[in-house]
């Protein structure tokens, strides 16, 4: 599989060939079909893709958060600092979740327990993982709320989630996720449920905290604007697979996969020099009950060739850390659309 992970053997987190299925009444859904990526210490990896492409399932299966059954991890591994974490929550006698990996979710309004005070909820991982007394944990919770820039933290810690606004709740969620100083923070669409001005504040906060604590961030999003602002590395996911992966500049300025291009063309911009007509990606993602034999994007791809329908493309490396999974990049393909980036010698 991908040699990106193999090349950087000292990565903080290495995920290899992860595949997840769900049993449903309609049959087996192959939500994630062989995903590999790695996360470097202190860096931000963004996983981008539209709804249902498997980006949330990827991280939730790593965290043991998908219900099993009906969910099932059919293959792959995820190694945190060299230790396998897939299918287990405790490594070396230590709980991974909440202490090594923190996680925040899309909708802060429903992601907090309505009958527990904010402070108690932030204190909880400290009590569980660090063995803090309630009082010590609660005081630390107040400090964490201050760190998350919540005014009057001591008073706020004694309030309940319904007394907070959405943006404040997401700050509290972040405070909770970083309470035990995890080495990775997974942010699963952290700003999707918030309005735009609050989004910006939350992203700023995440960046500040990342600088302060040196943690790595895995950012799940469908918003390319968020990616451009936050990410060091980007993985573009489609139909349960990563179709393009690279440094943020590679993916944005040297987009090599037709899907990445499609996403970019469908993204509004407020920079007049980049003003263009928004072009939606026609059609809908493939049915993952019976995934296509060939490339998942084939049916919607403007550059589709005959081979695309029949056989899975391989990763083609365009740079050391930049690959695209597309037949157009195959040496024998003569079709090289100008809009896409190709290796110099391939032209």
């Amino acid at each position: 599989m991908s040699s990106v992970t193999a090349a950087n053997s000292a990565s903080l987190l290495e995920v290899e060939d992860l595949a997840v299925e769900f049993d449903t009444y309609g049959g087996i859904v192959q939500a994630v079909r062989g995903v590999s990526f790695s996360v470097e210490e202190g860096k931000t990896l963004a996983i981008v893709g539209e709804s249902g492409c498997g980006k949330s399932v990827t991280v939730q299966s790593m965290m043991g958060l998908i219900p099993m059954p009906p969910g099932r991890i059919t293959s792959g591994s995820a190694r945190l600092k060299g230790h396998e974490i897939l299918g287990r929550t405790i490594v070396n006698g230590k709980e991974i979740r909440g202490s090594e990996i923190g996680m925040i979710f899309q909708d802060p309004m429903t992601s907090l327990n309505p009958t527990m005070t904010i402070g108690d909820q932030i204190a909880e991982p400290l009590q569980v993982h660090r063995g803090y007394s309630y009082k010590k944990a609660f005081n630390e919770a107040i400090r964490l709320l201050e760190m998350s820039k919540i005014p009057e933290a001591a008073k706020r810690a004694r309030q309940y989630p319904f007394e907070f606004s959405g943006g404040m709740l997401q700050r509290a969620m972040i405070a909770m996720a970083i309470a035990c100083k995890p080495s990775i923070l997974i942010a699963d669409e952290p700003t999707t449920a918030l309005d735009v001005t609050i989004q910006a504040q939350i992203l700023d906060l995440l960046q500040d905290l990342q600088k302060e604590t040196g943690m790595a961030v895995i950012l799940i999003t469908h918003d390319l604007g968020v990616v451009a602002r936050m990410a060091d590395e980007v993985a573009v996911m489609y139909a349960g697979k990563i179709v393009e992966h690279g440094m943020v500049d590679d993916v944005f300025y040297r987009s090599a996969h037709p899907y990445t291009l499609g996403l970019k063309e469908a993204m509004p911009t407020n920079d007049p020099s980049l003003q263009h007509e928004l072009k939606p990606i026609e059609g809908s993602p493939p049915d993952l009950f019976s995934p296509p034999q060939g490339c998942g994007y084939c049916a919607r791809c403007p550059y589709a060739m005959q081979i695309c329908n029949r056989q899975q493309p391989d990763d083609t490396f365009l740079a050391k850390d930049h690959f695209s999974r597309c037949w157009l990049h195959h040496v024998s393909s003569s079709n090289k659309p100008d809009q896409l980036y190709f290796k110099e010698e391939a032209k």
């Binding site: 965290m63 043991g64 958060l65 219900p67 929550t89 709980e95 991974i96 979740r97 909440g98 202490s99 923190g102 996680m103 979710f105 909708d107 429903t110 992601s111 907090l112 327990n113 309505p114 009958t115 527990m116 909880e124 991982p125 569980v128 993982h129 309940y160 319904f162 007394e163 969620m173 909770m176 996720a177």
Partner: protein, 310 residues
């Protein structure tokens, strides 16, 4: 909070007044009267008795007198049990019904929450199937059948062991109370189990439970701190009416187990058209129900902070 309680109390007083009025006129519209039995043998005796009990006055006047007495806490004298005040009947027999009822409710609530949570956690596995089968049984089998079967069971157990482990009927000690309380609470427990199951299923798949898992909180703590308290809210909502229903609806069980509770007098009074006892017990039960609902609403506020603030 105090304003909230006060408001509910005022509302409650109106409710009780409405119950009293409705019962009063419904009762007077039922054909016959309390003197129809062998006591009023001649017209003269009947006229004297009517004068004594005030039944010769127009209905509206009787109503006025009744309300006046009610306000002073005087529920009147029984028409059929000579010289026995309704207040005394309630005072003597309600505590028995109340103790039985409270035990039954405790049993029903504890059982309902426990079984409901269990079925939700073991959803679609054998503990779920077994318990839900028993729940359907508990809901559909009437309490007098369960009461009779449990008595039969007790007789056999006592016979087998050779000494009275648990008394089959009667009242007096804690041992007397156990089996009737369980029988009385069974239907409510079955109902609460179903309620708790559906509520718990919703909570189990909720976002904040996922958050707790992502924090690495151990399952037992998730259950106690995150799931139970939130899932229990709908159960508490119906607990007030349940307490009242159990306490007031216990007369079948009281009869089968020969327990001297208030239920028997309530039913007897209706059969004999004993006006004052019907009114007294109905109004008392009505007030009790209203009070329990208020208590539960206040309790709800302690468990759910969102309600407390409003």
């Amino acid at each position: 909070m105090w304003i909230f309680i006060l408001k509910r109390l005022v509302q409650g007083i109106f409710t009780v007044w409405f119950i009293a009025t409705a019962t009063f006129f419904a009762m007077h519209n039922v054909p016959g009267d309390p003197l129809l039995n062998d006591r009023a043998t001649t017209d003269v005796i009947r006229a004297n008795l009517e004068a004594k009990y005030g039944l010769d006055k127009p209905v509206m006047t009787q109503y006025g007198i009744y309300l006046g007495n009610l306000l002073q806490g005087d529920l009147g004298i029984s028409f059929t049990q000579e010289n026995r005040e309704v207040n005394d009947i309630i005072r003597d027999h309600f505590p028995v019904s109340a103790i039985l009822g409270i035990l039954a409710v405790l049993f029903a609530a504890a059982g309902g929450v426990l079984w409901g949570a269990l079925t939700a956690i073991y959803r679609n596995r054998w503990p779920d199937y077994v318990i839900m089968f028993l729940v359907i049984l508990g809901i559909s089998v009437p309490s007098f059948v369960v009461a009779a079967i449990s008595q039969l069971f007790l007789v056999n157990v006592n016979g087998l062991i050779g000494t009275t482990v648990l008394p089959v009927a009667g009242w007096g000690t804690v041992l007397h109370m156990l089996v009737p309380a369980m029988v009385l609470g069974l239907g409510t427990m079955a109902y609460l189990t179903r309620l708790m199951r559906s509520s718990m299923l919703e909570i189990i798949s909720s976002d904040f439970v996922r958050t707790a898992k992502a924090k690495g909180v151990p399952p037992a703590r998730i259950f106690a701190k995150h799931q139970l308290r939130n899932a229990i809210l709908p159960v508490i909502t119906v607990l007030g009416p349940s307490i009242a229903a159990i306490t007031t609806g216990g007369f079948v069980v009281e009869l089968v187990f020969a327990i001297p509770g208030l239920g028997r007098y309530f039913v007897q009074a209706v059969q004999q058209l004993d006006y004052t006892v019907i009114m007294g017990t109905t109004v008392f039960y009505g007030a009790f129900l209203v009070f329990m609902v208020i208590v539960v609403d206040v309790l709800y506020g302690f468990i759910d902070p969102r309600v407390r603030m409003e």
